[in-house]
Structure formats: C-alpha cells, structure tokens
Amino acid sequence: MSSPTPTRQWQRFTPFQRIVRSMLMIIGVTALVWSFKTIEIIPEFLYDAPEQAADLFVRMWPFDWAFYPKAVHEALIETFHIATLGTLLALVLAMPLAFLSARNITRSPVLNWLAQVLFVSSRSVNSLIWALLFVAIFGPGALAGVMSIAFRSIGFIGKLFGEALEEAQKGPVDALVATGAPHAVVLAKGIWPQVEPSFWSVALLRWDINIRESAVLGLVGAGGIGVALDNALSNLYWDQVGLIMAVIFVVVIIVEMITSSIRARLI
C-alpha cells in the first residue's frame, strides 16, 4: 500500500508577485479614498448643474453661421498651418535627438541619457504651458503657437522614433560597413530605409494630435481658432462658441480619418 503522495500545489504568482500586487491594490484604494474625502467640491454648485448645462446648449443653438466667414475660417486655416509647421519643426529637431537616444547607434550612455531627459521634459510640460512661455518670449501670435507645438512634440516623436531605431536590424548596417561605406551612408542607406515607415507613421500620429492641440493654444494668445473661441467665450456669445466647437469637431474627425487610413497603408 503506497502512502498518499502530497499533491503539488500550482500557483500562478510567486509570493513576491502576490505581495507586490496586493500592495499596488492597497495603494490604489487608499489614494482613491483619500481623494474622495479631501477634494474640495462645492455641493451647492452641483444642484443647478443640469439647469446650467441645459441653458448652455439652448444658448448654443442655433449656431451663428454668419460668424464663420467673418472670423472662423481664417483662424481655422491658421490653426491648420500652426499644427503642420509645428510638426515639421519638431521632426527636424527630434530626428538628431532620436539618433542620440538610440543605444544601438550612439554608443555613449551619457548622450543616450541626455536625449532621454530632453524628451521627458518636453513631454511633461503641457502644450498650453509651453504656449504661455513662448507667448512671453515671442509675443502673442502664430509663432508662439508653432514653437509650443514643436517643443511639445519633440519628446513624443523622439521617444517613439528612438524606439523604432533601436529595433532596426543589424544586417544591412554590417553589410554596408563591410563595403567600407562612410558613417553617413551607413545611416542613410542602412538604417533610414528600415525606420522610414515608422518615422512617417509617428509624424502623422503627432500631426493628428497637434491639430487637436493647436485648437486651444489661442486661449493663451498663441494664435489659431482658439483666439476666436476665447473672444466668443469672453463675450458670452455661446452661439459662436457652439459653431467653433462644431467646426473643430468636423476638422478633427476628417484629419483622423485621413491619417489613420495613410498609417494603415504605411505599416
């Protein structure tokens, strides 16, 4: 008669993983409860919120269509140009930094780290805050908008393009090096063709985001349709606000459809 062999217990997580997971859960719940208890919300404001919201939409409709040719169309074109030029500038600025940040191309941890720090700082500061700084530097207008779009996008483009560079295969590079090709040719013919689709895909993705972002830059004076929105808001012309929002909605949807169809073909 054999003694019963102890059945082996299978567990999905190691004890350490379980501790980490429950710690994370506890931290999450504590943070949530703390926020609920201490956030300052004035309940009186909540009582008439539905009325206020309804009032808002009543005032918005019907849109002030006459306002479109007067002020919106030109501002819309300007927004489009700000987003596009800002994206192009960001591409030019981010590309060398992305090469610096890719560990397989630049073999210097200090330079890699430096590029990463620049990317993180660029992404941490919101585009509206960049716009505040650039309005202080260049004065109100489209230039400040272009610069803030560019500086905000450097981090995004640089990080994603740097990751694409790190995934590039070594084969073509080795082949070119073996023929004695100079460094610039190795980059242009060994690495660039491998990463070109992802470069343009990242650029389009950011352009799509920038169209959205450039629509609000005008609120702090950096040009574009946000200026018209700000004027309409401060004059309490809600029918103009409604029109501008509808215009932004349509443009954003069209741009998203275009970019996603191009990106689907690129990759």
């Binding site: 997971r21 941490s124 272009v146």
Partner: protein, 265 residues
C-alpha cells in the same frame, strides 16, 4: 591594347524622384507658411533677446515657504483630480468600450457607442473644461469631469480594440454551458482583457496627471490656476518652481506606471 570598356552598371542607389519631389513640396509649403504666419528670422532673433530676459527673471526658482505651501495645495488638488478622473473615466469606459466592440454587440449599438467615443475624443480637455466650468462652476469638479470625458474617449476606444482582438474560443466554450451574456462576459471576456485594461488605466492616469496641471488655466482647479496667476503677475521665478515640480512629479509617475504595466501584463 585596351580591353573592352567595363559594362556600365546601374547606380547602387538610384535617385527616387517622387520622394525628392515630395520633400521639395514640404520645403515649399514650409516657406509659404512661414511667410503667411509672419515667422521670420528677425522675429526669432528678437525672441532670443526676450528669452534671455525671461530666463534671467526665472532664476533662481522661488522657494519662499508661503509660495511653496500654495504650490503644494495646487499640486495635491491636481493629483486628486487625476486619481478621481482616472477612476470614473475607466469605470465608465468599461460599458462604453464593450458597447463599441463590434464582435460582441449588435452593429447599431457599436456604431452609436463609436459616435459617443468620437465626440469625447475630438475635443481637447481644455475645451471640455470650459464647458464644465460654465455648467458646474469654478473648481476641481469641473476639471475632474472634463478629464473623465477625455479619459472615456481614449480608454474606451482602445478597450474596444482590445475586445475585438480576443479569442472567440473561450466565449464559445462558456456559451456552450448555457451561460447568460453576463456570465460569458465575466468568465470568457474579462480574463482575456483585464491585464491590458489595467495597463491602459495606468497609462491614462499618467496622461490625466499631465492634463490636470493644465485645466486650472481655464478655472478647472489644480496647479494650473496658481501657474497662470503667477504668469500673469510676471512672477516668473514662481512659474519656474511650479514647472520644475510638475516635471519631477510626471517623471516619477511615468517611471512608476511603466513598472506597474510590466507587472500587470
């Protein structure tokens, strides 16, 4: 005696004219836009002068105790806005994302949900904040509601895409036991997507934290109000302090969230 001339070989890298024309087009566009937007070297150079003055007034960052306690209050409010908006935003994204998954629900429901998501996504959080400031008044609530809406737009869209990629075998197996739709969801769908959904939520927290530093500019609560006030009063040293704190917090949060995402996935 001369040998036969070497056969001419094709160039190793032939010129790619369509691409060259496209680049030339981009260049022409850039020059055209620079001219109509009044972007010129002279303005950039005069800007450098202003920039030097601006940075001169920014340094050293202001670390007076009264300013720091003001900034701390604003930062805490921003963090609270980020936490609560992520919680409600992801919670509401669960049903919205499910309703937009074309493989699980009827087409009419999916297209309606996709319309809702498109509306949530296409407006910048700042514009949504402006509307909520009008609807519920100044303060953290307006910013929080705005970020809930933008979180719903982003998380539901990606959640719907995740749901559309799931394996249908488990669903078939659970359905074969006679399980109801709710049970199919709980036992066949949720286990396949929960890890990626949590990853998505953590990512959204990151993004909400960034945006919660900004909604204050239009009255939505958080550090943005303090930042904008300092900016309008030309207290650029306080602006720098706030910016440095924001950058530090966001870097910390980004490191933490990428760690958490590797744990959950």
């Amino acid at each position: 005696m001369t040998g036969p001339a070497p056969p001419s070989r094709p160039a190793a890298f032939p010129a790619n004219w369509p691409v060259r024309i496209a680049y030339a087009g981009l260049l022409v566009y850039t020059l055209y836009v620079c001219s109509i937007l009044d972007v010129s070297l002279a303005r950039l150079l005069s800007g450098l002068d202003h920039a030097a003055k601006l940075f001169g007034r920014m340094f050293p960052p202001n670390s007076a105790p009264d300013k720091l306690s003001l900034i701390a209050d604003g930062m805490i409010e921003s963090i609270q806005i980020a936490i609560l908006s992520t919680f409600f935003g992801t919670l509401l994204s669960l049903p919205l994302g499910l309703a937009a998954a074309r493989n699980l629900v009827p087409l009419w429901l999916a297209s309606t949900a996709r319309m809702v998501i498109a509306v949530c996504r296409s407006f910048h959080p700042i514009i949504i904040s402006i509307l909520f400031v009008k609807a519920v008044g100044f303060g953290a609530l307006a910013g929080m509601l705005a970020l809930v809406i933008s979180s719903m737009g982003f998380v539901s869209k990606l959640f719907a895409e995740i749901l559309e990629e799931i394996s249908l075998k488990q669903i078939e197996a659970i359905r074969a036991t006679g399980a109801s739709f709710i049970n199919v969801l709980i036992f066949a769908v949720v286990p396949q997507v929960i890890g990626r959904f949590i990853g998505l939520s953590v990512y959204q927290f990151d993004s909400n934290l960034r945006n919660s530093t900004m909604v204050g500019i239009v009255g939505g609560g958080g550090i943005g109000a303090a930042l904008f006030t300092a900016y309008q009063r030309f207290d650029y040293d306080v602006v720098l302090t706030i910016l440095l704190i924001i950058i530090a917090l966001i870097i910390l949060c980004e490191i933490a969230s990428s760690r958490i995402r590797t744990v959950t996935q």
